[in-house]
């Protein structure tokens, strides 16, 4: 009961400590920073122990998943990094992870991010409902082509081709502006939420 009333005030104290960084780096910030690193590290570690139990030890015992003993051993070998002369054994487990992750990451990437995007760009220039749609589609077509062109590295564009590359750069900038803007929205919401929290704890607003 008592602790529940203190926690919001601690929240306010931390808020001031962290935001004091905006003025300059100081001991209050360092206190919050180091507390947080300790807490986060401890938290991560407890979660790791938890999942080692639920996805490693317990399936081996209850579901007879004896194959999981192999990653357990390889995992313990990863810890060999602490001793330089046997550190090479840690690379086995790590490289299996790299292999799995890379395989997963690249197997569908060309379909999802190249073929689908190319197909989406196909348009029929012969039938368009109105002039605006016509303009929009041509606009997208030109910006896609010029952007891809901009990313060609091994051929230096010369003559008129230089302009295509430049248009590509402009198309990228047009794409980045809206992304920046939607981030403004999210960040302002988070800021407003924290200021509201601050005012609520101090009793200025309900």
């Amino acid at each position: 009961m008592q602790i529940e009333t203190i926690i919001p005030w601690m929240g306010v104290a931390y808020l001031l400590m962290v935001w004091s960084l905006l003025y300059k780096e100081n001991r209050f910030f360092r206190f919050a920073e180091n507390c947080f690193v300790g807490a986060a590290c401890g938290y991560t570690l407890t979660k790791a122990i938890d999942s080692l139990n639920s996805s490693g030890i317990s399936p081996i015992i209850t579901k007879a998943r004896y194959d999981l003993i192999i990653p357990m051993i390889l995992g313990i070998l990863i810890l060999a990094k602490f001793k330089r002369n046997i550190a090479f054994v840690s690379q086995w487990g790590v490289n299996i992870m790299v292999g799995i992750a890379t395989g997963l990451a690249i197997r569908g990437v060309l379909q999802a991010q190249v073929i689908v995007q190319i197909t989406a760009t196909f348009i029929s220039l012969s039938m368009m409902p109105n002039p605006l749609a016509y303009f929009n589609n041509i606009f997208v077509l030109i910006s896609v082509i010029s952007t891809i062109f901009y990313f060609i590295f091994t051929r230096e564009p010369s003559g008129h081709l230089k302009y295509i590359s430049k248009i590509g750069r402009y198309a990228i900038m047009l794409a980045l502006g809206p992304v920046f803007a939607s981030n403004v929205l999210t960040r302002m919401v988070l800021l407003a939420e924290r200021v509201a929290f601050f005012l609520r704890v101090l009793g200025i607003i309900k």
Partner: protein
């Protein structure tokens, strides 16, 4: 005179960022203390979401998914509260709350503290399932047969003992699948595992950064409607007539956006003046 002018311009251009920060706090705090009641249009998707939930009939099942982690709670929290307030207000519907992200269950319990439960009873009208691990695979199984992945509720009671679960075997029994989603991974999994095979309407709340990512699914009709960030929550609060934290913050979002635009404008005017003067030299 000229020299002094230049001094002011320089000072404005290289204004100490701490002054900007303090200005920002004021601009955000003032509307929170004294709500300005700035006008707020309601987007069509928020209205679609509201209408779909409003149209639920007694006896129908709804799944509410809390697929959200703590970092997104500032935006998804108000959305959850608004959504759940609406769901609990509709008479005699059954609500099943589930989470496929570890922090989701704790967060939805937090949200429920601020929700008016009306006369809904736990175990009869609504139930909270624990976090279900296993990503897409777990979702696929959950949708085809709930009991294969979850047998206990969040408090450790057996699901068979609850009257709400009597008529509920799999996702075919629900009318709408709704929830908050952030990060976006669960959403794509829902499209593949829920919308495509079962053709169930999906209504989600997402944080505003993820709205562009969501757009293709909205356009293809795979996602029926969405709430976008805290503004979506504020609009929904307005629709259900329960002003909450989303609406309270809407004004300060407006003012802070205006301030950023004014700053950008000022920065550019200063820049142009400086360029013109520099050009004369």
């Amino acid at each position: 005179m000229e020299k002094k002018n230049r001094g002011i311009l320089e000072a404005l251009e290289y204004v100490d960022r701490r002054i900007l920060y303090s200005l920002m706090i004021i601009v955000v705090a003032v509307p929170l203390i004294h709500p300005l009641g700035l006008p707020m249009p309601i987007s069509s998707f928020t209205r679609t979401a509201y209408n779909a939930i409003e149209a639920l009939k007694p006896g129908e099942y709804v799944i509410w998914a809390s697929d959200v982690d703590a970092g997104a709670w500032a935006e998804c929290g108000p959305q959850s509260i608004a959504f759940l307030n609406h769901l609990f207000r509709i008479p005699n519907i059954k609500i099943i709350i589930v989470s496929f992200i570890p922090a989701g269950t704790d967060l939805v319990l937090l949200a429920l503290k601020e929700v008016d439960l009306h006369d809904k009873k736990y175990g009869i009208d609504y139930v909270i399932l624990p976090y279900i691990a296993g990503g897409e695979t777990a979702k696929a199984i959950f949708f085809s047969d709930v009991y294969k992945v979850v047998t206990l509720d969040v408090y450790g009671t057996h699901l068979e003992q609850m009257s709400i679960m009597k008529d509920f075997k799999n996702v075919n029994d629900i009318s709408i699948y709704t929830g908050v989603v952030s990060p976006m991974t669960p959403l794509e999994e829902y499209i593949r595992q829920l919308v495509l095979p079962y053709k169930k309407p999906l209504i989600v709340g997402v944080i505003s950064v993820n709205v562009p990512t969501l757009m293709p699914y909205i356009k293809s009709g795979q996602v029926t409607a969405y709430l976008g960030g805290a503004m979506g929550a504020a609009e929904y609060e307005l629709l259900i007539g329960r002003p909450g934290s989303g609406l309270a913050q809407a004004d300060s979002i407006s003012t802070s956006h205006l301030m950023i635009l004014l700053l950008v404008l000022m920065g550019n005017i200063l820049y142009i003046i400086k360029r013109v003067r520099g050009g004369k030299k």
